[in-house]
């Protein structure tokens, strides 16, 4: 939160037409300047910023030191590119503008964007630097654009002459890749001498860099509840999809066994759903994979099914037990002859008592409900292999009541 008056010296020489920074050097520079002005004015409300251009017929001050961000941004429009940059005159005019700042308590700072070749020699740059240091003016140098021989060394010499107590900085930005504003975001030019920086600068840097680092694009530090909620819902979705996949695999695999396997598979699916709800997903995973393979193979050779017979039996149950009925209907519609399901599992599920106990544990399903019983009976009755199912079938004639 240092109280500062900053003059920004923009390079609008011919060399700024080049496109090695996208969209053009001048545009990249303008973006960086806009961000910089915002950061400076945000970090301390009494900070002032002014802008001048160095190239062209003469050095032109676009705005004098002001804390009005709108005025600063608006003066960046309609700038023309042309001429040669005059670095020493630019810095001198900036120094003069800073000298006449209204609030003498502000620290003086000049930020120079040096994109074109430097025609001065080292000695002259060093005297410029010394003069700035003598008057307690800090200088930030942004070296980008033209990379001629000796330019970095010259700028480093200028930086060494002006630097007192680490209040000045120099940044070299090579062309291609990052934009100038992104490259500057993490440097002390933006964050201001490492005192923690402004909230603006920090937030902008975090948004740019942090988007790809976190799983859901949300920083757990910034918003832990949101991050947690996203993660939990992702896991629930994954579990649900596994259950659905397993169900589909089971049904496809067991169609050859008539209706019993579908009911069993339905039970299986429900059991699995319970199991997964109580957090055990390891074993079914392998089964799901195997079943999926089979399901895919089977569905390739599926003939058209004969749903009509099934449907009539299903009709009564449908009204009462929608979920159960719908799932069963879906499973029936895939007709298949062969079955190569796991016989041991199906045997276990043939046991009526087991099935009814499983059903009892399911919420919303009452095993004594006649329609449920009828459903079970009808499936088991159509199974040709099961013995116990047929016996029960005789005991429980299908009834029409709901």
């Amino acid at each position: 939160m240092v109280l500062e008056a900053t003059m920004i010296c923009i390079d609008n020489s011919e060399w700024m037409r080049n496109g090695d920074y996208s969209p053009s050097r001048f545009q990249a520079q303008a973006d960086a300047v806009n961000l910089l002005c915002g950061a400076k004015t945000q970090s301390n409300p009494e900070n002032t910023v002014g802008i001048l251009t160095m190239a062209g017929k003469q050095v032109r001050v676009l705005t004098t030191l002001t804390s009005d961000l709108g005025k600063i941004l608006s003066c960046m429009h309609g700038l023309e590119v042309g001429g040669e940059m005059n670095l020493s005159a630019g810095i001198q005019v900036a120094q003069l503008a800073l000298k006449h700042r209204q609030n003498k308590n502000q620290q003086q700072r000049i930020i120079v964007f040096a994109g074109s070749p430097i025609k001065y020699d080292k000695k002259m740059l060093e005297t410029i630097g010394k003069k700035l240091k003598k008057n307690n003016v800090s200088l930030d140098i942004v070296d980008f654009g033209e990379e001629e021989d000796g330019k970095p060394e010259k700028l480093e010499a200028l930086f060494a002459a002006v630097n007192s107590n680490d209040s000045s900085h120099i940044v070299h930005i090579p062309p291609g890749g990052t934009a100038i504003s992104d490259a500057l975001m993490n440097t002390p030019v933006f964050t201001g001498d490492g005192e923690g920086g402004s909230g603006f600068a920090a937030a902008a840097a975090a948004a740019a860099a942090g988007g790809g680092d976190f799983d859901f694009g949300v920083d757990p530090n910034l918003d832990p509840e949101l991050a947690l909620a996203l993660r939990v819902s992702m896991e629930e979705e994954r579990a649900r999809q596994e259950a659905a996949a397993k169900r589909a695999a089971d049904e496809a695999a067991r169609q050859g066994k008539g209706e019993e396997p579908p009911s069993n598979s339905q039970d299986t699916a429900m059991v699995d759903k319970d199991a997964e709800a109580t957090n055990s997903a390891a074993d079914p995973m392998d089964e799901v994979n195997a079943l999926l393979q089979q399901a895919i193979a089977l569905s390739m050779e599926n003939a058209a099914s004969d749903p009509s017979v099934r449907d009539s039996e299903m009709a009564e149950a449908t009204n009462d037990d929608q979920d159960l009925a719908m799932a069963l209907q879906m499973s029936i519609q895939e007709s298949a002859k062969d079955s190569s399901s796991q016989s041991d599992m199906s045997k276990a599920l043939e046991d009526q008592s087991f099935v009814s106990s499983v059903l009892a544990s399911l919420p919303g399903v009452d095993p004594n409900d006649p329609s449920v019983k009828e459903l079970l009976a009808s499936f088991q009755g159509q199974a040709s292999q099961s013995e116990s199912g047929q016996k029960k079938d005789e005991d429980k004639p299908p009834s029409d009541d709901k």
Binding site: K99, K130, K134
Partner: protein, 204 residues
């Protein structure tokens, strides 16, 4: 003009005369062209400690003997004379120019402006030399800026002690610094006695 004490200082205490250092607003003291930022504060100390060269002193940057020191006071003072102790080997300043009640002076301003008073200094290593002011011009001084443009040939300029002799008034020259002007009245700021529950207007 310089004047010498005509008595030895062991007899009586000269330090009470040089008491203006207590009225210097030390946190706001600043200097331009100092080699170590913040070292300007170290030259203001009690008279007895003026020869303590173990502590820091004010030194200018390499190859540049100019120094500019800005000294604000906590209240208005009248300055009778100034004492300067410089460094050895030609690093003592040779000229001093003073500006009164102006802040934010930098080197170009100092070189162009007419100083209130200028002195030619001599090398003064024990601080017994004092330089008198034209007292009439130094009657209500809120801040003084001392400009040392040159030295006796050394590479840098060093100053070990600056002392002021004079009187302090309790007045402050500045206008009131912080006032909040109300553009529109804010009722919550103006609670009446009845609202705040005091007074005799309560009816049980």
């Amino acid at each position: 003009m310089a004047c010498l004490h005509d008595h030895s200082c062991e007899d009586h205490d000269c330090s009470s005369n040089w008491s203006l250092y207590k009225h210097i607003d030390l946190p706001k003291v600043s200097a331009l062209n100092e080699a170590v930022p913040g070292s300007a504060k170290s030259v203001f100390k009690p008279w007895e400690h003026r020869l303590n060269s173990s502590e820091e002193h004010l030194e200018s940057n390499e190859g540049d003997p100019e120094l500019l020191v800005y000294i604000p006071f906590t209240s208005d003072v009248k300055i009778k004379s100034i004492a300067i102790i410089g460094g050895t080997d030609g690093t003592s300043p040779s000229k001093m120019r003073a500006f009164i009640n102006r802040d934010g002076i930098d080197f170009s301003d100092a070189q162009n402006m007419q100083a209130v008073q200028e002195w030619d200094l001599v090398e003064n290593l024990n601080g017994l030399l004092e330089f008198q002011t034209r007292y009439a011009k130094f009657q209500s001084v809120a801040s003084i800026t001392l400009h040392f443009p040159d030295n006796f040939g050394g590479d840098t300029s060093q100053i070990h002690y600056i002392g002021f002799k004079g009187e302090a008034t309790q007045l402050k020259r500045d206008v009131v610094a912080t006032i909040v002007y109300e553009l529109m009245p804010n009722p919550s700021d103006h609670k009446t006695k009845a609202e705040s529950g005091g007074g005799f207007s309560q009816v049980e």
